[in-house]
């Protein structure tokens, strides 16, 4: 229980920042501390914990969950977004054309308004992995989200009127946006996608009031562009020095150096620091860019006001397999130093590389990095230098086919966000079991076209299953239970105070499991595969609801969403080979499902 009370104190701190800004319509005093029954940002909370204090639905009654209502968005592409719930309204962002729907929870499924950002159609061809959008953020009566054609919009939450629209990137260079922004104290933080196009990654800070760009922090290039200055104190020597974002590249290559930012951000109100990961370096083929390729495939801690870098850690220097470092950074307090020592403020990152990293949140020191799947791509993480240990046998070289590289490019886990329950002390991690054959080839940089230089075909790792939903104990550093799934588990998850967790599968099952044991308590079949982020909220009637968007797609489901041809194993950058049979299990979908107890 010590964990729970710690957690409460911390969440309380986080809520203190934004509670006063909310519409106070549905806030009820009866809620467990730290949960108002709303869902105001894709990640639920600043720490990316995705724990809901709601407990009406529990391990005893979950089996009687029933469908309450549905809503069709009319957009049959990969639905990766988390619906938001603010007061009595639910907000749903669709994949391109990125409509925003406001649904009235008093009259379930009724559209209050629909906003169309009129995104440019050409963006669809520049988006690596289907036309997905991962959701919105709410603050001070406004909904903020990003469009595939690289704009950020602010929409009035009551009327659906556009307040401002700011251009963040240029689709002609392959710049798109799929991530959910985060908003803190009048600022909106936005990343950029396009790691497959040699896009120069950066975090853009936009004023919530008027959409003005306040600063940009690049992921490669000179220190001044990366906002690296006197406050920057990385833990490891290999990250110390000036202009490493230039010097760890062949001359000029940083200009197309990647390090895009398309995952979730986290924020620690106590230290006012933002944390986020960077994607792969420009050109998948590593031979074309000798060096550590900073600051790609790592994690920055930055001052939320000024953007100044405070520390950095690189998960995979000189990335070899498109192992983007963008997975969520969960801000937790864990007894990693022993049961008698005080809990440490840590950052937990279930990496694409297959390691579960636990970092000291104040310094960026790696406390542990344990494999949570089979790994052949590397040989571990050296805790002394912090460096990932290269497996020479699997090193890509031009013209050579390397077989059985696990994790394959989507990693052991991709963008699909995990959850943590302070009640069970466990992390819930949706992920995949994929390996691949990998051939490095020449790559030409042509703006607006892919900059890859790799032929890849993926397939299931040993065991034959392609996905897994796992509970992991971050203190004992081991798996506690796991549910194997036929397809990659590409959906997010949420865990609640009722000790149940929810996730969905690409073959159309939405499941509720006992968070302690992994027993499946309830299983609902949807129209299309699920790759979205389940959320739970309290409706105007005081009941606890669970909502999820079902509509297969994303990189993993591109074969269905884009009607790709399974005769080519390299389709969708090689993912199609691993999921050739997906079209037998699901069609595209566009539907929101909402469940409750009878």
């Amino acid at each position: 229980m010590y964990r729970f009370s710690k957690f409460r104190a911390w969440v309380g701190g986080a809520l203190g920042i934004f509670l006063p800004l909310l519409n106070s319509t549905s806030l009820s005093a009866a809620e467990p501390a730290g949960d108002d029954g709303q869902w105001t940002m894709a990640t639920k909370d600043y720490g990316n914990v995705r724990f809901s204090g709601l407990d009406q639905i529990n391990t005893q009654n979950a089996k009687s969950l029933k469908l309450s209502w549905t809503f069709s968005t009319g957009v049959f592409r990969g639905q990766e977004a988390a619906p938001l719930v603010v007061g009595n309204t639910m907000y749903v962002v669709t994949p391109f054309p990125n409509y925003l729907y406001a649904l009235d929870l008093n009259k379930p499924g009724t559209v209050k308004w629909k906003y169309d950002p009129k995104a440019e159609a050409a963006a669809k061809g520049e988006a690596c992995c289907d036309w997905v959008n991962r959701g919105a953020a709410y603050a001070e009566g406004r909904i903020f989200y990003n469009t595939l054609d690289a704009n950020t919009v602010a929409v009035d939450a009551a009327s659906g009127k556009e307040i401002w629209k700011t251009k963040i990137g240029d689709i002609n260079k392959g710049e798109t946006i799929t991530m959910a922004p985060m908003t803190v104290k009048g600022k909106v933080y936005v990343g950029i996608s396009g790691g497959e196009f040699g896009v120069r990654g950066r975090l853009t800070c936009v004023s919530a009031a008027d959409g003005k760009i306040l600063w940009r922090a690049y992921s490669c290039g000179p220190d001044k562009d990366c906002l690296i200055g006197p406050r920057f104190h990385p833990f490891y020597d290999s990250d110390k020095g000036t202009d490493l974002g230039v010097k760890t590249w062949p001359p000029g290559h940083w200009k197309i150096g990647g390090g895009t930012i398309w995952g979730f951000l986290s924020y620690d109100p106590e230290t006012n620091l933002l944390f986020y990961g960077m994607g792969n370096p420009g050109s998948w083929n590593p031979d074309l860019r000798p060096g550590d390729n900073k600051w790609s495939c790592g994690c920055f801690a930055r001052d939320a006001d000024t953007g100044e870098a405070v520390w950095y850690y690189q998960w995979s220097p000189h990335d070899e397999f498109d192992h983007d470092g963008i997975n969520e950074c969960m801000l937790l307090e864990l007894k990693v130093d022993g049961p008698d020592k005080p809990a440490r403020k840590v950052l937990v990152h279930p990496g694409r590389t297959g390691y579960m990293y636990v970092l000291d949140r104040a310094t960026g020191q790696v406390l542990s990095a344990d494999p949570f799947t089979r790994i052949t791509a590397s040989k571990g993480v050296d805790l002394k230098s912090g460096r990932s240990i290269t497996n020479e046998e699997k090193r890509p070289r031009i013209g050579k086919v390397i077989r059985d590289v696990q994790p394959a490019s989507p990693g052991a886990k991709d963008w699909q966000p995990s959850a943590y329950s302070p009640r069970t002390g466990l992390l819930y991690v949706p992920h995949q079991n994929l390996t691949c054959d990998y051939e490095a080839v020449e790559a030409n940089y042509i703006a607006g076209t892919p900059y890859l230089g790799v032929n890849e075909r993926m397939y299931a790792g040993p065991g034959g299953y392609r996905g897994k939903f796992m509970a992991w104990d971050p203190v004992a550093r081991k798996e506690v239970w796991g549910i194997k799934e036929n397809f990659p588990v590409w959906s997010g998850t949420v865990v609640t105070a009722g000790d149940v967790a929810f996730y969905g599968t690409m073959d159309r099952h939405f499941k509720c499991v006992n968070a302690k044991t992994g027993e499946v308590l309830w299983d609902f079949e949807t129209d299309s595969g699920i790759i979205g982020q389940p959320v739970t909220f309290k409706g105007p009637d005081g009941k606890q609801y669970v909502a999820v968007l079902a509509g297969v797609g994303g990189w993993a489901g591109a074969i269905v969403a884009g009607q790709l041809d399974p005769r080519d194993p390299s389709a969708a950058l090689g993912f199609v080979n691993a999921v050739k049979d997906l079209p037998d299990h699901t069609k595209p979908g566009d539907k929101l499902y909402v469940f409750a107890l009878p």
Partner: protein, 207 residues
């Protein structure tokens, strides 16, 4: 004796390079296309035969590339070099649609494929106008069509130089191309294809 002689004679007539067509020049003219200035006639360095608009409209020009092994093989290399493979993979598609099936949004006539590459298409196909010499554009047209078996199997590329992926074009079954509409996902116009619908009817648990 006469029969083989006649055959080999015919084989000798085969051209190893195909003549490029006329192409309208963009504002910024790529240097290697600007060899002989003049209205409605241009040429590329690899051949010296100017092609007139008249000829293009009277002669099914693009078909020449479907029976020419050199052009198809060059097309295969260019398909990788110009990053077509990044978006269309080896024909199975990805960010762009598949090219080895029978479904075409904009048509599978060589001239239509040529326009797809030259001008781009609204849902994200970039325009390569001014970036690729014209004769190479046609070599790409030939290779793209060979992916769905439209090229002569005797001329289409065999084993690829790389890791085996899709069947090589010379063994790909010949598809019957048909023009299909874009899948309904809120089309380019920004209008919803399907009107949003809602149900508040509780439905039976699907399992």
């Amino acid at each position: 004796m006469t029969l083989p002689a006649a055959l080999s004679c015919k084989r000798e007539e085969r051209s190893f390079r195909v003549a490029p067509p006329f192409v309208e020049m963009p504002e910024a003219i790529p240097y290697n296309n600007r060899v002989r200035p003049g209205p409605f006639a241009t040429t590329t360095p690899s051949t010296s035969q100017p092609v007139s608009v008249e000829r293009l409209s009277h002669e099914p020009f693009g078909r020449q590339y479907l029976i020419n092994a050199q052009a198809l093989s060059d097309g295969q290399t260019l398909y990788g070099a110009f990053n077509c493979s990044g978006c269309h993979a080896n024909g199975g598609g990805g960010m762009g649609p598949p090219l080895l099936d029978n479904k075409w949004f904009y048509g599978a006539e060589p001239e239509q494929v040529y326009v797809s590459i030259l001008e781009g298409r609204p849902n994200g196909m970039p325009s390569y106008r001014g970036r690729i010499p014209d004769y190479q554009m046609w070599e790409l047209v030939g290779y793209v069509l060979s992916l769905s078996g439209q090229a002569s199997p005797n001329a289409a590329a065999g084993r690829s130089e790389h890791m085996t992926t899709a069947l090589p074009p010379n063994s790909t079954p010949r598809e019957k191309p048909e023009v299909v509409p874009q899948p309904t996902t809120g089309p380019a116009t920004g209008k919803t294809a399907t009107q949003p619908t809602t149900t508040s009817q509780p439905r039976q648990n699907g399992q």
